[in-house]
C-alpha cells in the first residue's frame, strides 16, 4: 500500500537518505530497523513531507511526495513522532479534541483501550508519565480512520511493564490498520512485526521476513549491531539503543 522508491534527503548538507526503496504491505506491522543515525526517523519525516526529499512515495498508487504534511495526514497517514510530542500545556481531553478531524471521532475505541485517558481528561498532558503520554499519542491516532500508521519508537524510555502494555495495544491496532514501525527494542519487533526493513547509512541494507532476520543471530549482529543475547524478552534488549538517540534524525 505504501511504496517508497529511491527516496533521497539532505539535512544541512549531509546526504542522510541515499535512495531508500521499500514497500509496506496492506496488513500487519512492517518494522523499520537499523543502528542509530541511519535515517529511520528521517525516512518517516520525508514520507510525511516534514523533510524535503526527492524520489517517489505512493500510497495506494497515489503520489504523495511534496504535499504538505497536514494534507497527507488528512488523507489517512497517522503519525506518532519520536518523543510522542503531546502538547504539555494542554489537558488530555484537549490533546484528543485537537486531533479529531472527522465529525464522529471514535472515542469508544480510545477509551476502551486506554480507560485512564477518560479519568485523567482534565489533567495537563505535561504532568503525565511517559507511558500515559504514549497512550495520548496513540489515542490521538485512533480517533480518526487511518489507512496507514507511522509510529516512531513508541517504547522509547518506557518501563518494561509499560512497554508490554503499549506492545499489546499496537498488536490490537495492527489488526485493523497497517503500521510502519520504527523500533529499537527487538523484543517488541519480534512480537509485532511480520516484515522488516533494515537501513544502513541511508540505504536499505536488508528486507524480508522479520523472523528470518531475528532468527539469525549473525545477521542481526551485523545489521543491527546487537548480540543474540539481546534477542531475549523485555527491556534488557533495549540497552544498546539507549545512548545517543538524538543522533538519529
Amino acid at each position: 500500500m505504501l511504496d517508497v522508491r529511491d527516496l533521497s534527503a539532505w539535512i544541512g548538507g549531509s546526504h542522510i537518505l541515499q535512495g531508500v526503496t521499500f514497500g509496506v504491505e496492506g496488513t500487519g506491522v512492517t518494522a523499520l530497523l537499523g543502528r542509530n543515525g541511519v535515517g529511520k526517523t528521517s525516512t518517516l519525516r520525508a514520507i510525511l513531507g516534514e523533510l524535503p526529499a526527492t524520489g517517489s512515495v505512493t500510497v495506494d498508487g497515489e503520489p504523495v511526495l511534496g504535499r504538505p504534511t497536514h494534507r497527507l495526514v488528512r488523507a489517512g497517514l497517522g503519525y506518532v513522532p519520536e518523543d510522542r510530542c503531546v502538547f504539555a500545556g494542554l489537558s488530555v481531553a484537549e490533546n484528543l479534541r485537537l486531533a479529531c478531524r472527522v465529525p464522529d471521532p471514535d472515542y469508544d475505541t480510545v477509551y476502551s483501550l486506554f480507560p485512564e485517558l477518560r479519568t485523567r481528561a482534565r489533567q495537563r498532558a505535561g504532568t503525565l508519565s511517559g507511558g500515559q503520554q504514549q497512550m495520548v499519542a496513540i489515542g490521538r491516532l485512533l480517533l480518526n480512520p487511518n489507512r496507514l500508521l507511522l509510529i516512531d519508537e513508541p517504547t522509547k524510555g518506557l518501563a518494561p511493564k509499560v512497554v508490554a502494555e503499549v506492545t499489546a495495544v499496537l498488536a490490537q491496532v495492527a489488526q485493523r490498520v497497517p503500521i510502519l514501525l520504527v523500533e529499537q527494542n527487538l523484543a517488541v519487533v519480534r512480537r509485532l512485526a511480520g516484515t522488516a526493513v533494515v537501513l544502513a547509512a541511508g540505504r536499505v541494507a536488508w528486507q524480508g521476513e522479520a523472523a528470518d532476520l531475528l532468527g539469525d543471530a549473525d545477521r542481526t549482529r551485523s545489521l543491527l549491531g546487537v548480540g543474540s543475547t539481546g534477542l531475549g524478552r523485555g527491556a534488557a534488549s533495549d540497552a544498546p539503543s539507549q545512548s545517543s538517540r538524538r543522533g538519529d534524525h
Binding site: E50, P68, C85, G89
Partner: protein, 291 residues
C-alpha cells in the same frame, strides 16, 4: 497618597497600551516565529484610520464607530501582510523579519506622504478629557478607558484561547507547530488569524493611544513598539498572560521612576529589568505557553 494613585493609574494605563500591542506581537511570535517589525505600522494604521473616521462622524456613537473602523483596518492590514508577504517566506525566518523591517520603513514613509510628518490633533470625545476622582486623586478618564479596555481584551483573548477550536490550535501551535501539522491541521490558516488578531489589537492600541497622547503621528507606532518588544521578551514570547504581567510591571516601573527619578531614568530601568530577567529566566516569566 493622591500622587501615588495618579501615578499608579497612569502607569497602568501605559501598561494597558503596552499590553494591547504586546499580546498580538507575542502571539504572532509564539505561533509563527515572526519578529514583526511591521506591528508598529499596524498600530499607526489603526490610529490614522480612527483619526480619519472620527473627523467625519459625529454624535455620541461617532467615536466608538471610528475606533471600530480603526480596529477593522488594523486587522485587515495584519491579515493581508501575512497572506501576501509573510506566507511565501514560510521556513525562512530571517527573511520574514527583513520583510517586516522593509514594511515598517516603507509603511511609515507612506503615512508620512499622505498626512505629513507632523502630529495631527486627535478627535477624542469630550468625556475622555475630563477627570474622575479615585481615592483622592483626579485621574484623567483616558487612563481609566485604557485600563478597562485592556482588561476586557485580556479576558476575551484568554476565553478565545481556552474555549474555541482555533484557540486550541494556537495554543498547541505555540508549543509545537510541526506536531499540529502532523495532526492534519493546516496551521498556516491559524497564522493568518493570529496576524489579523494582532493587527486588530494594535489598531485598537493606536486608536486609544491617540486619545492618550492627544495626537497621531506616523512614527508613533515605532517608538511604542520597542517597549512592546521588551514586554514580550520579559513576559515570555508567545504568552498572553505573561505579556499582561510584564506590561503592568513595565508601565508602573517606567511611570514611577520617571516621576521620582530624572526624566528618562524609567525607560532605562525597564531595559535593566529586561537584562535581569534574561539573565535569570531566559525564557521570560511565563515560558512557552500561549495562555
Amino acid at each position: 497618597m493622591g500622587t501615588v494613585v495618579l501615578l499608579a493609574l497612569t502607569g497602568l494605563g501605559l501598561g494597558a497600551l503596552y499590553f494591547l500591542i504586546a499580546s498580538g506581537l507575542s502571539l504572532v511570535f509564539g505561533l509563527a516565529d515572526v519578529l514583526n517589525f511591521a506591528h508598529g505600522l499596524f498600530l499607526s494604521v489603526g490610529a490614522y484610520a480612527t483619526w480619519w473616521a472620527g473627523g467625519r462622524l459625529s454624535g455620541p456613537w461617532g467615536f466608538p464607530v471610528a475606533v471600530l473602523f480603526g480596529v477593522a483596518c488594523g486587522a485587515a492590514v495584519g491579515g493581508l501582510v501575512e497572506l501576501v508577504l509573510i506566507r511565501p517566506l514560510y521556513r525562512r525566518p530571517t527573511e520574514q523579519v527583513l520583510v517586516t523591517v522593509g514594511l515598517s520603513l516603507a509603511g511609515v514613509a507612506l503615512l508620512q506622504a499622505g498626512w505629513g510628518a507632523d502630529p495631527r490633533r486627535y478627535p477624542s470625545p469630550q468625556w475622555t478629557q475630563k477627570v474622575t476622582r479615585v481615592l483622592g486623586a483626579d485621574v484623567p478618564n483616558d487612563r481609566l478607558l485604557l485600563i478597562g479596555v485592556a482588561v476586557v481584551v485580556l479576558a476575551g483573548l484568554l476565553a478565545f484561547l481556552r474555549f474555541t477550536r482555533y484557540g486550541l490550535v494556537i495554543r498547541a501551535g505555540v508549543e509545537n507547530r510541526a506536531m499540529v501539522s502532523a495532526l492534519g491541521i493546516d496551521v498556516r490558516r491559524a497564522f493568518t488569524l493570529v496576524f489579523a488578531i494582532g493587527g486588530a489589537l494594535a489598531g485598537l492600541a493606536g486608536a486609544l493611544g491617540g486619545v492618550y497622547f492627544g495626537s497621531v503621528s506616523p512614527g508613533q507606532g515605532a517608538s511604542l513598539l520597542i517597549f512592546a518588544f521588551i514586554v514580550v521578551v520579559i513576559g515570555g514570547m508567545g504568552s498572553v498572560t505573561g505579556s499582561a504581567y510584564a506590561a503592568v510591571a513595565v508601565g508602573l516601573l517606567q511611570q514611577f521612576v520617571n516621576y521620582y527619578g530624572t526624566a528618562g531614568a524609567g525607560d532605562i530601568c525597564v531595559v535593566a529589568l529586561l537584562a535581569v530577567v534574561l539573565l535569570v529566566r531566559p525564557a521570560g516569566i511565563a515560558g512557552r505557553a500561549a495562555t
